[in-house]
């Protein structure tokens, strides 16, 4: 029952956020210089052609009317038609979602597997006066190499020495899982380098916070081994910020692992949105951003639930905090 109420509260605030996003993206798209007509029809278009195009996509109506129509359509599950491909945007987004989802999940899996241990290690080994420096350097290095540098580097190296991994030529997982993975491993690895670093640093921070807790001292006093303490007490207590971060990373990536998709030429959502921005394909940009926001919001709810499970004090069911 209480859960239900919590959900209704969340649903309301999520709706508010989505509405905000929709207004913002709608306005931004229309504020962008370079109208759709010039972009798509090219320099030779006549005013009549432009007008005809505007009528076709309802762009001649007052802006708030356009917004209203769009919102109503979206509420009914219709994301509109791409002005370039003339295909329904919803279907195209759906077709691209698996690519981006797989990429983000792989990247996040990588960052959990590598980042969390690294973070724990650097925190537990941190000593005033330089200890843990190697770990700090390592995790610093990860955030220091921009995706587009690393991505280009990887593309160059691996296109010469394939090592069983492929660049480009993406195939759906359902078609050929092995080849799909072979094409996804590298971009996911490039993406996760940054995520690993951030995860490691957040983990380090959280673990440092837990290390000063009396129950950790109590466990040390009971003669538990560091590994045991990490496993049973630290991981779970430090998990909340890390889970929050990971959720945010997933959401971010789902919204478009743009640069990596671009560099590796993967047909994901990020590259779709950015190409659409470049072409002023309004419906696509709007729908793409709304989808990304929706994913983000859902992710956030999931994170909150998860964090609540991890830390009963913060849970949905917690009656009071003090």
């Amino acid at each position: 029952m209480r859960l239900l109420m919590w959900w209704s509260g969340r649903a309301l605030s999520s709706a508010a956020t989505l509405l905000g996003v929709s207004v913002l993206i709608f306005a931004a798209v229309r504020l962008m210089p370079g109208g759709f007509a010039e972009t798509v029809l090219g320099p030779f278009a006549t005013p009549e052609q432009k007008a005809e195009l505007a009528t076709r996509y309802g762009l001649d109506q007052p802006v708030f009317m356009q917004y209203g129509h769009w919102l109503a359509a979206v509420a009914g599950g219709d994301f509109g038609i791409s002005m370039i491909s003339r295909q329904p945007v919803g279907a195209e987004l759906l077709a691209r979602l698996p690519v981006t989802a797989e990429l983000s999940l792989l990247a996040v899996a990588g960052s959990v597997l590598a980042g969390v241990p690294l973070g724990v290690l650097t925190a537990v080994r941190a000593r005033p006066g330089g200890g843990g420096a190697a770990g700090r350097l390592l995790s610093g290095l990860g955030v220091s190499v921009p995706e587009f540098v690393l991505g280009s580097l990887v593309v160059f190296v691996f296109s010469r020495y394939a090592l069983g991994l492929e660049i480009g030529a993406w195939v759906p997982f359902t078609e050929d899982p092995a080849r799909n993975l072979a094409t996804m491993v590298l971009p996911a690895a490039v993406l996760s380098v940054f995520a690993i670093s951030v995860t490691a640093r957040t983990t380090r921070d959280a673990v440092m916070g837990v290390l000063v807790e009396p129950y950790v001292t109590a466990a040390v006093g009971r003669g538990e081994s560091p590994w045991f303490i990490v496993r049973h007490h630290i991981l779970r207590n430090a998990a909340a910020p890390v889970v929050t971060l990971l959720g945010t990373i997933i959401a971010y990536l789902l919204g478009g692992a743009l640069i990596v998709e671009h560099v590796f030429n993967l047909p994901g959502i990020g590259s779709y949105i950015v190409q659409a921005v470049g072409r002023r394909d309004y419906a696509v940009v709007q729908a793409g951003v709304l989808l990304a926001a929706g994913v983000f919001i859902v992710m956030n709810v999931v994170i909150d639930l998860l964090v609540g499970v991890l830390d009963p004090r913060l849970g949905v069911t917690a009656g009071r905090r003090s």
Partner: protein, 272 residues
């Protein structure tokens, strides 16, 4: 308080060198970054000791200029972000209620925009250039920072020393400035350095997509992006600025971590 550790001091020194390089470029040291001085795509040699680019310009002064552009742009952006996030995060966290709700909704709206899409939109709306890059970095980095600062501020606001100050009759600016701010400063510092690296990445990413600073001005992002296409034929184009960029972000991060540890008064115990 604790002194900065050796690693952080190394980072600081590294940053100092980079700042000096940037200042040197402003003062004209290293030569005109836009002048075509020799044949295209020459490997490092006399006259162009970091090689020449695809227009025959010497890379050395370009890298120096690039350091300046990038550092200035991203640190300015981070300052703005830090100021805005700290203000909103602290006030929302301390005050709670509707203000909090409003700020958090706004932040969430921004947050749920995919970062680079947000940046691209900003650049497209404002027209490309430094202002757009700045605004993009700010908008991309604000949500996370505001959220975290707010969370920290909520925790700090419940502390008894804040209540004590209120009881003593301290005005809001004093309560926020003397009590809440310093105690969320660690969060701001860590997030600030993180934002700085994100900022540099966003700037580079924007250049990568063609929205960055305007030619012929160099920024590390632009140089690396352009050099990237020459990675095999002329690796020096990407190596010079790449190494500098990595050094810069690394130094910033290391210093940020050091600051965090320094600002954190709590003491840890060994697990063994």
């Amino acid at each position: 308080m604790k002194r900065l550790d050796r690693l952080s001091i190394g980072g600081l020194a590294c940053l100092l060198v980079l700042v000096l390089l940037a200042l040197g470029s402003l003062a004209g040291a290293g030569g005109d970054p836009d002048a075509i001085v020799g044949p295209r795509l020459q490997p490092p040699g006399p006259g162009w000791w970091l090689g020449t680019d695809n227009l025959g310009r010497s890379m050395a002064p370009r890298v120096m200029e690039g350091v300046g552009t990038t550092l200035l742009l991203s640190s300015l952006a981070v300052l703005v972000t830090a100021a805005v996030s700290a203000t909103f995060g602290i006030v929302a966290g301390y005050r709670g209620g509707y203000l909090n709700e409003l700020v958090m909704r706004l932040v969430e709206v921004l947050y749920s925009f995919p970062a680079i899409v947000l940046a691209v939109l900003v650049a497209a709306v404002l027209g490309p250039g430094q202002v757009a890059a700045l605004a993009s970095i700010v908008l991309v980095t604000i949500p996370l920072m505001t959220r975290l600062v707010r969370a920290a501020a909520v925790a700090v606001s419940q502390r008894d020393y804040v209540t004590s100050a209120v009881i003593s009759g301290a005005r809001l600016p004093r309560v926020l400035g003397r009590h809440v701010l310093p105690n969320v400063a660690g969060t701001i510092a860590v997030q600030g350095t993180y934002a700085l690296s994100v900022g540099i990445a966003v700037e580079g990413g924007l250049s990568f997509l063609g929205f960055g600073v305007q030619p012929p001005q160099a920024s590390l992002g632009v140089l690396i992006q352009q050099g990237g296409t020459y990675m095999i034929a002329a690796p020096w184009l990407v190596l010079g600025p790449g190494v500098v960029l990595v050094a810069a972000i690394l130094a910033i991060n290391v210093v940020g971590d050091g600051l965090r540890d320094r600002l954190e008064p709590q003491e840890t115990r060994s697990l063994t």
